[in-house]
């Protein structure tokens, strides 16, 4: 998990933060996936959160045509060149 993903969870409201951490712990257990399958809503919420972290990995994102560093560098260059805030 990226540092950004960790801070995403850390700054969530405490009920969501506690629930997400608990679900992540369950998901890592051998029978975790089977347990979660019994609670589709929770499983869905956890899946979406995990996907946010997984596809934020630069190498995976690059395979899909997205290079965040390049987008940011272009933005900064344009801001400096045009004297934007």
């Amino acid at each position: 998990m990226t540092r950004g993903f960790e801070s995403f969870i850390d700054r969530a409201p405490w009920p969501e933060r506690v629930a997400l951490r608990a679900l992540l712990a369950v998901e890592r257990r051998p029978r975790g996936a089977r347990l979660l399958a019994r609670a589709p809503l929770l499983s869905q919420a956890l899946g979406a959160t995990l996907a946010l972290g997984r596809y934020d990995e630069p190498r995976l994102a690059a395979c899909l045509g997205w290079d965040a560093a390049k987008v940011v560098a272009r933005g900064r260059a344009l801001r400096r060149a045009e004297g934007r805030p």
Binding site: T2, R3, G4, F5, S7, F8, I9, D10, R11, A12, P13, E16, P40, L41, S43, Q44, G47, A48, T49, A51, L52, G53, R54, Y55, D56, L60, A61, L64, G65, W66, A68, A69, V71, V72, R74, G75, R76, L78, R79, E82, R84, P85
Partner: protein
Amino acid sequence: MTRPLETDFCVVGAGGGGAVVAAELAEAGANVVLLEQGPGHDPDGFTARPPEMLAKLYRDSGQTTTIGSPPILLPLGRGVGGTTLVNSGTCFRTPAPVLARWADEYGLELDDRAMSVCFERVERSLSVSEVTPELAGANAAVARRGAERLGWSHGYLRRNARGCVGSGVCVFGCPTSAKQHTGITYVPRAVGAGAALITNADVRELLVERGRVRGVLARLAGGERLEVRAGETILACGTIHTPLLLARSRLAGASGQLGRNLSLHPATAAFALMPDEVNMARGVPQSFYVDEFAHEGVMFETVAGPPAYAAMALPLQGREHARAMARYPRLAQMGLMVSDSSRGSVHALGRRPVIRYSLDGADLDRVRRGLAHLGQLFRAAGASEVYLPLPPGVAPGAARARDLRLMAFHPLGTARADARASHGVADGDLAVHDVRGLHLADGSVVPSALGVNPQLTIMALATRLAFHLLDRAVPSEQQGAGIGHALAPLST
């Protein structure tokens, strides 16, 4: 120890409403203190990476959630610029029928002509213009193709952007500072005209003496207390937090409407697999609308983002999710939002907001019909697969509230304006009914859903309020009284 400050006007909140009021007042020569609960954001810290930016730029990492059926995510911005920093930049004027309804139902004299001068002023300040098809990108082209084949009304959206290159991350902090949010427009104007901007200032309560608000008490980041004494106080903490501050100060409760009448735009989105590459994050994410069903309360706008964003929003799981994400370059996405008839409420538990909101039957039906139309739109555009945000095997028409994956945007109405003190929290001039010296300048005063993105409405109302406080007419842009030019100094 308490640090004292004295000023003509104390504005609380540097988002869409507060920044506008502060700039207009300061440029007219008034002394202004602008307090912001969050930090200022340096665009050099914008990384275009969703999890990190959600944590940095949003309240609660963007995970503020309503309690009700179904639970709804309600993302809110935090810091200088407020939600204008993290919205998509879409600019609509308040629809004329909505203004007419406000006149009829709430006694608000905000006709199209009176408001248009405010809209013009805001639009010029924010460089509002229509997105070009080239900048809109391929995701918008998919939606356009579908709408044209179906004969549905559509168009490119107007946005507050200048020099946009379509970075695709408006909602995660624009790395080019192309989006003209209030943090880089009105706030610098306010500061340039002499306003004192204080960030990380958490306003705890309003100071009230003999039936008049005399300023605010705040706590600064280091724990220092700040007392701002002001002739007039303007609250612009947003629809969720303004009523909480009023309630904490035991103000504005006489009508019984404070914290009630919460209106949202419940929203969801569908994905589609297209035959050709879309690369949804290349271009302006929210650039194109379909308003064929706006009269029924259903509006479609394109949405898009980088893979991490798409992966979070894609309504699939397990292998199906991985399979669709492997084809991310060919995914298109379109959002739908509902002009709601449901109403919720907000109150505090400790210092946190508790937001209650359940979808009523009419809104559930709007979402169902909207999802069916989204499927139709994508198929008409040539999609080979359509992914609706519903559990497997559930058709749009059979969806129950608990089947829906909803987000919501544009909270409004929790301190609604109504000319009658018994029916609203503020009057038509946005002065709080119960107490003198206090005005409101955010979405909380907007008395009903708009059916369109509300930032221009909030900013136009804030412009109108600023000139009301100055006791001057809003200058017409055609008369050459331009933005950023100091008006004649205040005589008082």
